[in-house]
């Protein structure tokens, strides 16, 4: 296992403690950080988040995690994992708010909508199976099923299904995880998903 630092972006919006604890549990070096200047290009970045889309974008901008910062991240090929709202912020826009997202991923975020007779509750909350999508380093094709804990009202809809590395089904299949080069996103909470989350973080750290 490599010990390159994992920088967890803390803009006051997420339960970063549980992400840090899981990374430490697997022997990673977790650094909680709210200042882009504290992030070295030798490490990896986790962008967690819960709450409203516009608040998420506002908090990122306020702390200086702006377009310029993300340009550098792309240029230097720093692995990034966005979790839940963090994943959604990597996209272009969300029906939840009016703010532009970071736009690193060609995808929009849309609300779950179900016909009444489907009797499906929103938010989608609880454990669900994630089926691997295109070949990728985080969600491998295993014989055993991989399940994760989800809590969300909005889902990511990519332009191109070829970036989807994990599919889940809730009244239809949707993108549970994506990858575009060094940028990864997970709609579920690996930090709250027992061994499945531990394995996913271990693979991320090993990148």
């Amino acid at each position: 296992m490599t010990n390159s630092p994992v920088y967890i972006i803390d803009t006051g919006l997420a339960n970063i403690g549980s992400v840090a604890r899981m990374i430490q549990k697997i022997g990673g070096a977790a650094h909680i950080c709210n200042n882009p200047n504290a992030i070295g290009s030798n490490g990896k970045i986790v962008l967690p988040g819960v709450g409203h889309y516009d608040h998420g974008m506002e908090a990122l901008n306020k702390h200086g995690f702006d377009a310029e910062f993300w340009d550098e991240v792309i240029k230097r090929d720093v692995p990034v994992l966005g979790i839940c709202l963090g994943m959604q912020l990597l996209c272009r826009s969300s029906e939840e708010g009016t703010s532009h997202g970071l736009g690193l991923i060609k995808a929009d975020v849309k609300k779950f909508r179900f016909a009444q007779e489907e009797n499906l509750k929103v938010p989608h909350m609880g454990w669900n199976i994630v089926e691997p999508g295109v070949e990728n380093p985080l969600i491998p094709n295993l014989e055993t099923e991989q399940r994760f804990y989800f809590v969300h009202t909005y889902k990511v809809v990519p332009d191109d299904d070829n970036i989807v590395i994990g599919w889940a089904n809730y009244g239809g299949v949707f993108c549970a995880a994506f990858q575009q080069k060094n940028i990864f996103g997970a709609q579920f909470h690996p930090e709250k998903s027992h061994q499945f989350g531990i394995e996913l973080f271990s693979r991320f750290i090993a990148l």
């Binding site: 403690g17 549980s18 604890r21 819960v50 909350m125 531990i198």
Partner: protein, 254 residues
């Protein structure tokens, strides 16, 4: 598809874990950190810790202890007991809790439910409703911290709190608590028909079949105390949780 959740509900009193019967007679069942470690190893779907004396004593949550609990949980953790303000809830979320569970404060001040839902999202706000049946077997709302029935119509109260922003309902059948005599299926069915948000049923669960029965009548999840901490006819304390494969087989939808 989304799986139904099976949730150990642990009762905290004076820093120790206890189990009650019909909300009375708390018996010490062990050290909470040790129990939580075991439940974490058993990969439970979710865990719920309720401090049953905080509101009664007008006390705040024991943040230090709760932070230790969260540190042992690689699954979602819900906490209830003594929460009266947005600031207190914020402190709990910062210490690693996913959901807060309100009863006394929700009954006194539904505006707090709204304030929490606005700030942290309704998925993180659970309300707990305790129901006691009267002599005609009609459901009555019971206030656990005041140990008495209050006059509000239970379905009106459910609607009011969900309208206020509660994202989940914990429905507790007081007469079933700790009895291992099976869930109140009639109550669960009525409640689940009345609400749109996920309903977690607790009270009386004694077997896997009970869990399945509660889910069949509409519960999104089932919580249990005695079933997960007692073993055998003499109620020896032993922490158990069904294997994932067992639950999978049990709850598979045809």
């Amino acid at each position: 598809m989304l799986k139904n959740r099976v949730i150990p509900a642990l009762l905290l009193k004076g820093g120790g874990l206890v189990k009650t019967t019909k909300f009375k007679d708390p018996k010490y069942v062990g050290d909470p950190i040790n129990a939580i470690k075991i439940f974490n190893e058993k990969q439970v779907d979710e865990l719920m810790v309720l401090d049953i004396t905080a509101s009664k004593e007008g006390r705040e949550p024991n943040y230090g202890l709760i932070e230790q609990f969260a540190g042992e949980c690689f699954m979602p953790l819900a906490y209830g007991g003594g929460i009266k303000t947005v600031e207190q809830a914020k402190r709990l979320f910062a210490s690693g809790v996913e959901k807060v569970c309100l009863q006394t404060a929700a009954l006194d001040n539904p505006a707090l439910v709204t304030a929490l839902a606005d700030r942290f999202g309704s998925q993180s706000v659970m309300v707990s409703i305790d129901i006691k049946k009267d002599w005609l077997r009609n459901p009555q709302v019971y206030s656990a911290s005041r140990a008495k029935v209050i006059g509000t119509n239970w379905l009106d109260l459910l609607h009011q709190l969900i309208e206020a922003g509660a994202g989940e309902v914990l429905l507790n059948a007081v007469d079933k608590d700790g009895t291992l005599s099976g869930p109140d299926l009639d109550l669960i069915q009525k409640a689940s028909k009345a609400v749109e948000v996920p309903l977690i049923a607790v009270g009386g669960i004694s077997s896997l079949e009970d869990i399945k029965a509660a889910i069949n009548v509409g519960a999104s999840g089932v919580a249990a105390g005695a079933f997960f901490v007692y073993f055998g006819p003499h109620r020896a304390v032993l922490i158990t949780y069904p294997k994932y494969e067992e639950l999978e087989k049990l709850l598979k939808t045809e």
